[in-house]
């Protein structure tokens, strides 16, 4: 390493109190920022669970639908109309709704009921025990074995309970890749059974799942569905619509943003203040270096280096801390909705760099102005 930077590092590390304050301040700030943004990412990710788990390329829905948590039922003719759009390879009905499960011990539990197209079973989950074809048996349901599995008494194949006063038998256990956000157990059945046993409205189709012939057809399908008075979105568009809903229409996004900003400001002020004190403490030494013959550029290098060192250390520790907390959270709390994404890391890194740049800026301003004559005069 360049000798000057080595000196800079020693000046920093040997001022243990300020060094610790700087690193801890930035660590804390990064930790808070990461916690906030990871939690929000987790919420967004898990709230879009159905879109990811079902895996359809396109979704047709009522234009008022914002998130896959609610659906507005559509009349049957929409399905026929969608099927006749050129470019549609196939289109199937999809039901998602809430069911009230009455367990054998007499307790109740809400559950998400998903109804798959009877003919194709499109969007079916991965079966981990049992046979998917048993879904056609009487009263058959497939239970998803996730963190909420125990809420229905950890049923085995053959276990029965009541759903909305209808008998239901678990015929297979399945696995889905993304857990839901709201802690509800999930049961799959056929579309016909789901629509016979559960709903109360006149219309039945929650979503129409569409497979376009090719990606070039997507735009045309979206236009045609719009002409029908409905909305067709690709899975990614639907995820983005869901994200936007949580970001801008629930207040959650704004709150997270404010909290992240506050964490950033806390870090900025602790680090900025401490670094300023650190530079002030060393000011006469920087002045002596200047008198001896250090160029301003070299002093700036030293200060920038010092602020980057504390910035990166704080970033590293902060990320480590929040990842550990999230990992512990995931071990202890079923469906703990938090995930560290590259975007979050990047955001925190940018914030840390801003903190470093700001801190060095106020330090540099001081150091540039030192007149070595004042050092000389004592």
């Amino acid at each position: 390493m360049n000798g000057l930077l080595r000196i800079a590092l020693k000046l920093l590390l040997n001022d243990k109190g300020k060094f610790a304050t700087l690193v801890i301040g930035i660590t804390f700030s990064v930790f808070l920022m990461m916690q906030m943004t990871s939690m929000f990412s987790g919420i967004l990710y898990q709230s879009a669970a159905n879109i990811v788990n079902v895996g359809a390329k396109m979704w047709v829905m009522d234009p008022a639908v914002q998130t896959p948590q609610n659906s507005i039922p559509m009349p049957d003719y929409v399905l026929d109309a969608v099927r006749s759009i050129p470019g549609v390879k196939f289109a199937v009905p999809f039901y998602v709704g809430a069911g009230l499960v009455k367990l054998n011990d007499g307790t109740y539990q809400s559950a998400t009921i998903i109804g798959l197209d009877d003919a194709s079973l499109f969007g079916r989950p991965a079966i981990i025990s049992g046979n998917i074809l048993d879904i056609y048996k009487n009263n058959a349901f497939i239970m998803v074995k996730d963190a909420n599995y125990a809420k229905l008494g950890s049923p085995k194949i053959g276990t029965s309970f009541e759903i909305n006063d209808h008998r239901a038998v678990v015929v297979a256990l399945a696995h889905t890749s993304v857990p839901g956000l709201f802690g509800l157990p999930t049961l799959y059945t056929t579309y016909n059974r789901a629509t016979q046993d559960l709903p109360s409205t006149r219309y039945l189709i929650s979503y129409i799942l569409v497979q376009p012939k090719s990606t070039q057809d997507i735009a045309a399908i979206e236009r045609q569905v719009k002409n029908l008075g409905y909305l067709a979105l690709t899975d990614q568009q639907f995820v983005a619509r869901n994200d936007q809903y949580y970001e801008f229409q629930t207040g959650m996004g704004t709150n997270i943003l404010i909290m992240t900003l506050i964490s950033f400001l806390v870090g900025l002020s602790i680090a900025g203040e401490t670094f300023y004190m650190f530079v002030l403490d060393n000011l006469e030494h920087f002045g002596a270096l200047k008198a001896i013959g250090a160029k301003s550029g070299e002093l700036i290098q030293m200060i920038v280096f010092q602020s980057l060192v504390v910035g990166f250390l704080g970033f590293g520790f902060g990320v480590l801390l929040s990842s550990t907390m999230i990992a512990i959270g995931k071990m202890r709390i079923a469906n703990y909705a938090a995930m560290v994404t590259y975007e979050n890391l990047f955001l925190a890194l940018i914030m840390v760099l801003v903190i470093s740049v700001f801190s060095s800026y106020i330090g540099i301003r001081k150091v540039i102005r030192i007149d070595p004559f004042d050092v000389f005069r004592g």
């Binding site: 390493m1 000798g3 000057l4 080595r6 000196i7 020693k10 000046l11 040997n14 001022d15 006469e284 030494h285 002045g287 002596a288 270096l289 200047k290 008198a291 001896i292 013959g293 250090a294 160029k295 301003s296 550029g297 070299e298 070595p372 004559f373 050092v375 000389f376 005069r377 004592g378």
Partner: protein
Amino acid sequence: MILTATKISKSFGEAPNQTYALREVSFAVDFGEMLYIVGPSGSGKTTLLSIISGILRPDDGDVVVKDTDIWKLGSDALAGFRLQTIGFVFQDYHLFPRLTTLENVAIPLILRREPWEKSLAEARKTLQIVGLAEKESLPPYKLSGGEQQRVAIARAIVAQPDLLIFDEPTASLDGETGRKIVAFVKEHILNERRAIIIVTHDSRIYEYATRIIRMEDGRIVPGAGADHEK
């Protein structure tokens, strides 16, 4: 001549509160000299020292050090000049409390971009010269005032500068220690390839000067450039 100063003037502040710190001061220093600049407080000694060492820009006049007209240089070149040519001992030393004594001494070499290990090795040799080899890993504040002064001297000479500048080197030392240090400097540091300029109030060390310049009110007192060779 190692240094020639011609008609240096410097004032501070604006009229009517303007102080003339230096009025057309001219003098020269030769290799091998240990020149003292003495005079009452406020007579302009520190100002003069700063100007001839490239730290404070004069209002008027030239300073030529080893054929370089230093006040014609840009600020980075001037910093380079100070680094290459001048060794400073500041009145209050300005040692880094968070570096070891050895690292403190090595700083001018490190600023010259010498490799780390080589700088430390050279600093170690210089600490030996000033008799502090065994204190190299202590921070300077653990040393006595006289020892700190010697560390500051070691830092000033480590890069073999041509011109050494001391401002009030004995001001914070007791009389005996001050005399010892100046005697040491004259004995071991002064040689025919360099000059030493010392500003002082301390008449107890006058005997070590090869020449004394007396200042009063921003001027050199005429006839005060006599040789005090001992």
